[in-house]
């Protein structure tokens, strides 16, 4: 591991100032992903700013919704009564990820910044990875690409975003609050992560030096009518091959007033399935209509040698997750 200097800050102002805008300085929250990447030699910060003790570990009601501080642990968010009772899909998604030990360490802000588990990114002994070394190529395209993207990928990168939490946040239209050298701003979750395009080395739209301070969950009366489905190679403690966060509002006839569907494991960012949502609007959420909606979303899927199975898996997962959400309505 490259030697680094360690600085612990206790106020947001100090942390932002200490961080500056240099590319080789990083904040460390839970550190579960960052330290692992440092051991691998993928991340090589010269300096770490420890933000674990910043006063950002509260969960509170705000404007009818809930604000979750960036330093709240994944465990505390998933266990919190406000989240469990009002946004259960978020608790379910968080609890579907990682292990209890990791969730105890991992923070909400850090989970937003998880990096892909693409094998070719994570192991620098592979020479080709545009995300790790821009311009070096993509080993995954010709390699073992079973876990890779089927939607929104580019010639430069077919990696997927690994987070479960972010999939639920996408369905809930969460808003990320940040503080940087030039002040505060809000970033809607759909604009927070990026598709790879020709700059796959840039995961998010955070600007240099910006610190995530909170995640806001807007008021959503029907958020309890939801479900999170995760499909993976083993039943626990594995990344998603496909996951679905589904939230649904039905009218008095039982027709869909609004569906919110987000997919994990299929793209470089949590994938909001707007085509499927539109196809369901005003319709009965029966199996035929759900399949038609899923087909509409997956129409543009592009597969590689080992991941074609994800297309049908995603369709079936949408149908099942939506059916579960409807049954909770």
């Amino acid at each position: 591991m490259r030697p680094f200097t360690y600085t612990r800050c206790s106020t947001i102002e100090d942390a932002v100032k200490a961080r500056g805008q240099a590319p080789d300085v990083q904040f460390i929250g839970g550190g579960t992903n960052l330290l692992d990447l440092m051991k691998m030699g993928v991340e090589r910060p010269a300096r770490l700013i420890d933000i674990a003790r910043l006063p950002l570990a509260n969960i509170e009601e705000r404007d009818g919704g809930v604000r979750i501080g960036a330093m709240v642990s994944n465990t505390d968010a998933a266990n919190h009564e406000l989240i469990r009772t009002r946004y259960p899909v978020l608790s379910e998604a968080i609890l579907a990820g990682a292990s209890p030990q990791l969730r105890n360490m991992a923070t909400m802000g850090g989970n937003l910044l998880q990096r892909t588990r693409c094998y070719y990114f994570y192991d620098p002994s592979y020479r080709e990875c545009n995300k790790r070394v821009p311009g070096s190529g993509c080993a995954a395209k010709q390699g073992y690409n079973r876990i890779h993207a089927i939607l929104g990928a580019s010639e430069e990168c077919i990696a997927v975003h690994p987070s479960d939490m972010c999939v639920a946040l996408a369905a809930l239209d969460a808003v990320v609050q940040v503080r940087g050298p030039r002040g505060e701003r809000s970033i809607p979750i759909v604009d927070f992560h990026r598709l790879p395009g020709n700059t796959p080395q840039i995961d998010t739209n955070l600007r240099p030096g910006e610190l995530i301070t909170a995640i806001d969950l807007p008021h959503l009366a029907y958020a309890k009518q939801s479900s999170y489905l995760k499909v993976r190679d083993r039943n626990s403690y594995a990344f998603a091959l496909v996951s679905v966060a589904a939230v649904v509002d039905l009218d008095s006839n039982g027709d869909v007033r609004q569906a919110r569907i987000a997919l994990g494991g299929v793209a470089h960012k949590p994938w909001r399935a707007t085509k499927a949502e539109k196809a369901l609007s005003g319709r009965k959420p029966d199996e035929a209509n759900l399949r038609a909606a899923a087909n509409a979303e997956l129409e543009g899927a592009k597969t590689y040698r080992d991941n074609a199975f994800k297309v049908e898996l995603a369709r079936r997962s949408i149908i099942r997750a939506m059916t579960t959400a409807v049954n909770r309505a």
Binding site: M1, R2, P3, F4, T5, Y6, T7, R8, A18, D24, I28, G31, T32, L35, D36, K39, A46, R47, L48, D50, A52, T75, A78, N79, E81, R84, T85, P88, S91, E92, L95, A96, A98, S99, P100, Q101, L102, N104, M105, K224, N235, S236, Y237
Partner: protein, 214 residues
């Protein structure tokens, strides 16, 4: 190892390094028998409470809690399995919560209360979870066992506190957890056993979990 970056004045290790260098200069005129100067890499001072005992150490900030325990403090009960947070062999309790000590920098635990497998027994008596693992054959080779036991101890506290898991039937309902075998398996999934002693592990946890679901 690569040369250190030039840190700014704000950085702890840089500042500490300067401090060490000054002490070094002073040490040259100290009488024989004075404390030797620390290596420049061991640049951050840190006080950790481990199993009730305070330890003052100077650390390279790269040292993980796991390596501090094993390599510096010779507390080798905590095991290094994968060193990447994937196996759970390094599980310890920090302020009562289980974590992977391999994925946590030791310097970040200033002031924390750390419990390792060595700290579970008291006065020559095994912790009930240690006794249960023996009673129920919760291990074969034993390498994952310290992590399994630490994890299980914290897990029962989580259940007692009403924390849900991915298999808890209705997360939106705040109610006591019924500790089924499915719950035990899900909650212990962060601890891998390559011998496959899971049947005994689940039995050991169940034997203590019974009646603890309120």
């Amino acid at each position: 190892m690569e040369p250190d970056e030039k840190g700014s004045d704000l950085s702890v290790s840089r500042r500490e390094f300067v401090g060490v260098a000054l002490v070094g200069g002073a040490a040259a005129v100290l009488p024989a028998g004075a404390q030797p100067v620390e290596a420049p890499g061991d640049s951050v001072s840190c006080t950790l409470t481990i199993n009730g005992q305070e330890h003052q150490v100077r650390l390279d900030p790269r040292v993980t809690l796991l390596d501090l325990l094993r390599e510096r403090l010779r507390m080798t009960g905590t095991k290094k399995g994968c060193d990447h947070g994937q196996c759970g062999a390094c599980t310890v309790l920090v302020n009562g919560r289980r974590i992977n000590s391999c994925l946590s920098l030791a310097v970040r635990h200033e002031g924390d209360r750390i419990t390792t497998i060595e700290g579970l027994a008291s006065g020559g008596n095994l912790h009930p979870m240690q006794a249960a693992f023996i009673e129920r054959d919760g291990f074969q080779c034993g390498y994952c066992t310290p992590g399994q036991i630490c994890s299980a101890v914290a897990m029962l506290e989580e259940v007692k506190a009403g924390a849900p898991s991915a298999v808890t039937p209705n997360i939106a309902r705040i109610e006591p957890i019924q500790l089924s075998d499915d719950e035990i398996r899900e909650r212990m999934s962060g601890n891998i056993c390559r011998c496959g002693a899971y049947v005994g592990i689940v039995a050991a946890v169940r034997s203590l979990g019974h009646g603890r679901n309120a």
